[in-house]
């Protein structure tokens, strides 16, 4: 059974006539890694925004656990149901890395007893040591900020993790580590991982590769690992 389903979703930005998404229908299951590929401007990030509950589609429906996103508390959905890794990181820049993670856990009302310790362990998992974790985000490199973004997305143990070019600023070794985490999250922890990417290496880990073109989505490839 799909954890997330898009049913005939169309979308166009205010003040424009051209639809970015045209009747997109897709299903996403727990325990699988999905990658979405496509040219720039093809609607990949728009689709992620809609899936993330940051925006609402004008036509069609997006169902999370069979519930229409339009009808549920989307703040709650963003806080607990989904973890988003933004291409531009979108961290609180004047807070430290660990504070970003703890804040995310607080917003999601995480029941973790020692949030700070858990935040450190998450950061360590994505390759951020304790010293770096205590630095303000502005003092971190792009790659480090990307990893903090990944750790933040995992901090509240969401059902769905979506990532927009998550490894774009990472070196090969770290990229491999991060991809291993994504694979583990899907295959071991039963999460649904959806990644927008241009990278072949990222697509290689996907169970399903989806392609977007001219606002329409199609399955490009199923892969067995």
């Amino acid at each position: 059974m799909s954890i997330l389903a898009l049913q005939n979703v169309s979308y166009k930005y205010e003040g424009t006539k051209k639809s970015v998404l045209k009747g997109v229908t897709a299903e996403f299951e727990a325990g699988k890694v999905y990658t979405i590929v496509g040219k720039s401007g093809s609607g990949k990030s728009t689709m992620l925004s809609l899936i993330a509950g940051l925006d609402i589609c004008k036509d069609g429906e997006i169902l999370y656990n069979s519930k229409n996103l339009r009808n549920i508390d989307r703040d709650e959905y963003r806080a607990k149901g989904i973890g988003v890794i933004f291409q531009a990181y979108n961290l609180i820049t004047n807070a430290t890395a660990v504070q970003n993670i703890v804040l995310s856990m607080n917003i999601s009302a995480s029941k973790e007893k020692n949030k700070k310790a858990f935040a450190y362990s998450l950061l360590e998992r994505v390759g951020i040591d304790r010293e770096t974790a205590d630095r303000t985000v502005l003092k971190l490199s792009g790659g480090e900020q990307q990893r903090v973004g990944i750790a933040r997305a995992l901090s509240h143990n969401p059902d769905i993790i979506i990532a927009d070019e998550p490894t774009g600023n990472l070196d090969k070794d770290t990229e491999a580590e991060v991809l291993k985490i994504f694979t583990s999250l899907a295959h071991d922890d039963g999460k649904c991982v959806i990644i927008v990417t241009h990278s072949r290496r990222v697509s290689d880990i996907a169970d399903v590769i989806l392609g977007i073109s001219e606002g329409k989505i199609s399955v490009v490839k199923h892969q067995k690992h």
Binding site: S49, A52, L54, D55, D75, E76, Y77, R78, A79, K80, V84, F86, Q87, A88, N90, L91, I92, T93, N94, A95, Q99, L103, S104, N106, I107, S108, R152
Partner: protein, 488 residues
């Protein structure tokens, strides 16, 4: 809880912006503290004096009307001006009014004693009866020569004991009828001891009718008093009768027991205390209905009140006006700063909203930040304001006193116009502004009380809430995706 922790961290993270906002809030709070301290203290003083001067009504003869009446009744070129009096019965009748909170009666009478030597007795005696022939000398009437007295009995006149110019030196205050206090000087001169009894004689008379009736009082000395009042006070003549050391203080009933209606010699006065200062007109109207003659006026001491309290009222006005101006401008500046600050924090808000933080919690966080800054400013502002309030008050009050003095000098000048109004006002001896020797209040000890602190706290929190509301109103218009897209 995390909202508070996050807000506290944000305050520390954004030092520059919060210092700027804090400086404005601090300036507003300091000004408000000073203004409210002055205003509260001044209000207390104004209310107190208003209560004292505007609530106490005295019924006094209007000398202009008495003179006019005497001139009208003159048949042989002789103008007889007899000070009209009210009987004890009239005073009591007037005191029974729904407009009054209470009444205080006093009585006085001239007396002599065969057993006591008066202070300044060599200056002779006097009396309270005034007979004037146009261009002539005081003299007898209908063959009756008014008696001269060497002392006076003062019934229920103890106000100097309250203001400290008289104090009990031995014994106790008179409480029962026929008990009295004598001055320590008179006691020393006559070797009076507590428990001694003396007989005093006086008279009541109606010179017009040629009636004279002797009065007698047998009083027991129950105490002596120190006297720091001016020996002759405002008396026009200096003699034993007008010397205040010869005043024998007793109860109202003691003096009034010899009162005879229609006869002069025992002067009874009443002070009435209105429930509200604004009830004077209604009370006066009631007095007229009860038969108070037109030669009497019911007056309050507004001139003294204005002279004493005028500068304080001016000071209060300045402080309140200044506070309002500062609050309005401060509020506008804080609102503008908040508006700018929230634009700077648009991205942060977008991130928080994208992470799932509800609008209400974002707003609560912003409000908490503003409250933290305001509370810090409040603590500092209360300290600075309290320290600065007294010097500021002194400076402002000095300016107000000088302005009042200048205004008075101008009003007394030949071209000021007020001099002529004194006689023509018909409002009695206290109608004009230049008629009182009272000194304006030259000191105002301001202090910070709990109510003022609460008011300031309320104002500060309102300012913080105003600033937060500006921010919150903007947040409601922000959608996280738009903010993040703008940023990205």
């Amino acid at each position: 809880m995390y909202i508070f922790e996050n807000a506290f961290r944000n305050v520390l993270r954004n030092k520059g912006r919060n210092t700027l906002v804090g400086a404005i809030i601090l300036a507003v709070i300091v000004t408000t503290v000073i203004a409210l301290m002055i205003s509260t203290t001044a209000s207390g003083i104004i209310d107190d004096y208003k209560g004292r001067f505007s609530s106490e009504v005295q019924i006094k003869p209007n000398m202009q009307k008495v003179r006019d009446e005497a001139m009208k009744n003159s048949t042989n070129g002789m103008v007889r001006m007899t000070m009209p009096t009210l009987s004890a019965e009239e005073y009591i009748a007037y005191g029974e009014s729904e407009y009054l909170a209470g009444s205080l009666y006093t009585a006085s009478a001239g007396v002599v004693s065969d057993n006591l030597t008066s202070i300044d007795g060599e200056l002779g005696g006097g009396n309270g009866v005034m007979i004037t022939r146009m261009g002539g000398m005081p003299g007898e009437e209908n063959g009756v020569q008014p008696k001269e007295f060497m002392m006076s009995l003062q019934g229920n006149k103890f106000s100097e004991f309250e203001d400290g110019t008289r104090a009990l030196s031995s014994g106790e205050m008179p409480d029962a009828i026929d008990e009295c206090l004598v001055s320590s000087e008179l006691a020393e001169l006559n070797n009076i001891k507590i428990g001694d009894t003396f007989t005093f004689s006086g008279e009541v008379s109606n010179l017009k009718e040629g009636i004279v009736q002797p009065t007698s009082y047998t009083l027991t000395v129950v105490g002596t008093y120190y006297d720091l009042t001016e020996e002759y006070g405002t008396a026009a003549q200096q003699n034993a009768y007008t010397n205040r050391r010869n005043e024998i203080l007793t109860t109202y009933d003691t003096v009034a027991q010899e009162f005879v209606a229609g006869m002069n010699g025992i002067r009874i006065e009443g002070a009435f205390y209105l429930k509200e200062p604004g009830m004077l007109d209604a009370f006066t109207s009631e007095l007229r209905n009860k038969g108070l003659a037109e030669v009497f006026d019911a007056t309050t001491d507004t001139a003294t009140y204005e002279k004493i309290v005028g500068p304080v009222e001016g000071l209060k006005g300045i402080s309140v006006t200044f506070m309002i101006v500062v609050l309005v401008f401060g509020g506008i500046i804080i609102a503008l700063l908040s508006s700018i600050a929230i634009r700077e924090r648009k991205y942060e808000i977008g991130v928080l909203r994208a992470m799932g933080m509800k609008k209400l919690k974002v707003a609560l966080g912003l409000w908490t930040e503003m409250i933290i800054v305001t509370c810090a400013c409040l603590v500092i502002g209360l300290g600075i304001g309290s320290a600065a309030a007294q010097p500021v008050t002194n400076t402002l009050l000095e300016g107000q006193i000088q302005a009042a003095e200048q205004a008075q000098v101008q009003s007394q000048s030949p071209y000021g116009g007020m001099g002529g109004m004194m006689m023509g006002s018909g409002g009695g001896m206290l109608s004009g502004t230049a008629n009182t020797n009272a000194e304006p209040l030259s000191e105002l000890d301001v202090s910070l009380d709990l109510n003022t602190t609460l008011e300031i706290t309320g104002i500060a929190l309102s300012l913080a809430t105003l600033a937060a509301l500006i921010s919150i109103s903007r947040i409601t218009k922000y959608e996280p995706i738009k903010i993040l897209m703008e940023r990205n």
